[in-house]
């Protein structure tokens, strides 16, 4: 969910409605350049940036919103490279479990240690993003770092479904990371696909565009129904935070 979309009060309302079907939220910090996102999620970022909700200030908003499920933050490191410490401090202060920087490994591989150190300093867990074209050594490295979860982006961008054998990629990732918690996402829109990914080794499913599309169309009910159906189709065991 893009932080604050479509407006702050509706945002909290939507989170509340979705809560029965959600293990944890991944909340995206609105940015002018949501570089790994597809058209649907981009729209929500642009909308929020136009409303003036972006950057560190956006993060502070979370202090005012009651979130009844655990949540993690998603942000692009390129935006906060100069304020990494401050950003992680704020994230910890508002109650996030960890901060996912999807561009960390691709654009700033040399900063992994700093990210870990700074996260630990403020009491955040770590979490790491991998793509469907990713070095095996790096997946093993991620596993060795004992993160809260490893996120595998199944498609080249959020919400875009290309003909990629994603189940196979999940199986390979699983082999490489052992029993670490594996979260998969990007363009998952049906209970059937969600279930098949779980069967192939994912521990959790992230649904973004399919839910947000409905919210953009003012169909909150539809968004909640989809969350319900997907949630019902998968049997989430051993969630990283212990809740379902």
């Amino acid at each position: 969910m893009t932080l604050g979309y479509p407006d702050v009060s509706k945002f909290s309302e939507i989170l509340e409605n979705l809560a029965p079907y959600v293990g944890f939220y991944e909340i995206g910090i609105p940015t002018r350049n949501p570089k790994y996102d597809g058209p649907t999620i981009r729209t929500t970022h642009y909308h929020m940036v136009r409303s003036g909700i972006t950057g560190l200030e956006a993060l502070k908003l979370l202090d005012k919103i009651e979130i009844i499920k655990p949540f993690t933050i998603m942000a692009y490191l390129s935006e906060f490279i100069a304020q990494l410490r401050l950003f992680l401090e704020e994230a910890a202060a508002v109650g996030a479990l960890c901060v996912l920087f999807p561009d960390l490994a691709f654009e700033y591989p040399e900063m992994i240690d700093k990210y870990i150190e700074e996260s630990e300093r403020v009491g955040l867990r770590t979490c790491f993003f991998a793509s469907s074209r990713f070095p095996h050594q790096w997946l093993r490295l991620y596993a060795a770092l004992n993160p809260l979860y490893i996120y595998l982006g199944l498609q080249p961008a959020t919400g875009i479904k290309l003909p990629i054998f994603v189940e196979k990629n999940v199986r390979i990732a699983r082999l490489l990371i052992g029993d670490r918690y594996l979260v998969v996402g990007f363009a998952i829109r049906t209970p059937e696909v969600a279930l098949s990914l779980i069967k192939n080794g994912a521990d959790a499913i992230v649904i973004g565009s399919a839910i947000i599309e409905r919210i953009i169309n003012n169909d909150v009910k539809g968004a909640v129904e989809l969350a319900h159906k997907i949630h019902a189709s998968i049997n989430i065991k051993n969630h990283p935070t212990g809740c379902r």
């Binding site: 790994y36 050594q137 961008a157 003909p163 196979k168």
Partner: protein
Amino acid sequence: MTYLPSYWYNIVADLPVPLPPLLDPPEYESSRIAQLTKILPSRIIDEEYTLNRLIRIPEEVRAVYRKIGRPTPLIRAEGFEKALGVHRVVTIYYKYEGALLAGSHKLNTAVPQVYYAKTDGASEVVTETGAGQWGLAVSMAAAMLGVKAAIFMTRSSYLSKVSRRIAMEALGAKVIPSPSRRTKTGKNALYRNAHHPGTLGLAITEAVEYVLASPYRRYVAGSVLESVITHQTVIGQEVLHQMPEEPDYMVACVGGGSNMAGFTYPAIGMKLRGEGFEKTKFIAAESAAAPRLSRGEYRYDGLDTGLVLPLAKMYTLGREYVPPPIHAAGLRYHGASSSLSLLRKLGYIKAVAYEQEEVLRAAILFARSEGIIPAPESAHAIKAVIDISHKAPKGSVIIFNLSGHGLLDTDAYESICNELVTGEISVFND
């Protein structure tokens, strides 16, 4: 039976750092990435986004590989060593991809891509070409597999590489000079410059636009994409089986990077995994007309000039860059594949750039000592080998990739041969 690889090798799985992803250009509302489903054969997309280190080669493709002349030979260049005066000092081998039916390494990926397009139900494959090596390979694969081919050929080559154009037409392909009036991009380019020589970046945009006009067309990519590069790794895997000893140098020319990558990646992969090739230096030879690895910037840029394709992080001269027309038209590309660029950035690959004349002179020396006329593109590697052989310590072993023959590039050799005949220049004054 002789060794023919069963898998393609995907170096992405072994890279020391993750490969930066393809991105959508931020200035467009519609997604270039989403559009790939209408452009590329679906299995190419799948191979582009795989965690597999090895990708199984379909049996149908392996069968065609045998028919077109795989495996290709690894040849000791004794005559060339003698001509260089390094015989018994330095040992030189070359992997001869010119032995393939279409005369270059390009068939290694033309065959699977055309096969995949056909499996998707496409009736026509579309692409761009410079000197025509890639266009010829696609035309040949299309004829073998029974689909039509349309080739956008950069105008400077369309006018100079007549034999290759005719060969493509003889195989049934439609050859269109680029920029053309068939696409919006082509018309714009011609409007700005009626004598535009064409560039590979622009011809790609035209080919993709043409594909998007019909659901029965698929674009086949001549280089640059990681999937395309994996297809070329049959070259390097065969080399691992054929080489009598581990080389000190592996050398290849670079256009988009596919022949260099295909030739070296199986060895570089072993190096990355700590299984060998510790001492081997990997040298990329490019044209001074398009020296992206030697003088380009490492950043995100368009794969094509008109941004119909996504952005890739690579060494680039800028997607608008128009390289001067040269005989080695296959090297006139503004960028180089993401993985090759990354390996260059990390120091696993060194790059050198050469001017046309010194390259052609090297080619003539090679032709006269080995009896093979090299493609002008491949001749860049030959020039690099000459330079290395004069500096390398005694006992060094050099293997280079002779990516194609130049029997259809006689225009390139015409003036230099005339000058040699009249005694204006000498082959040996390097």
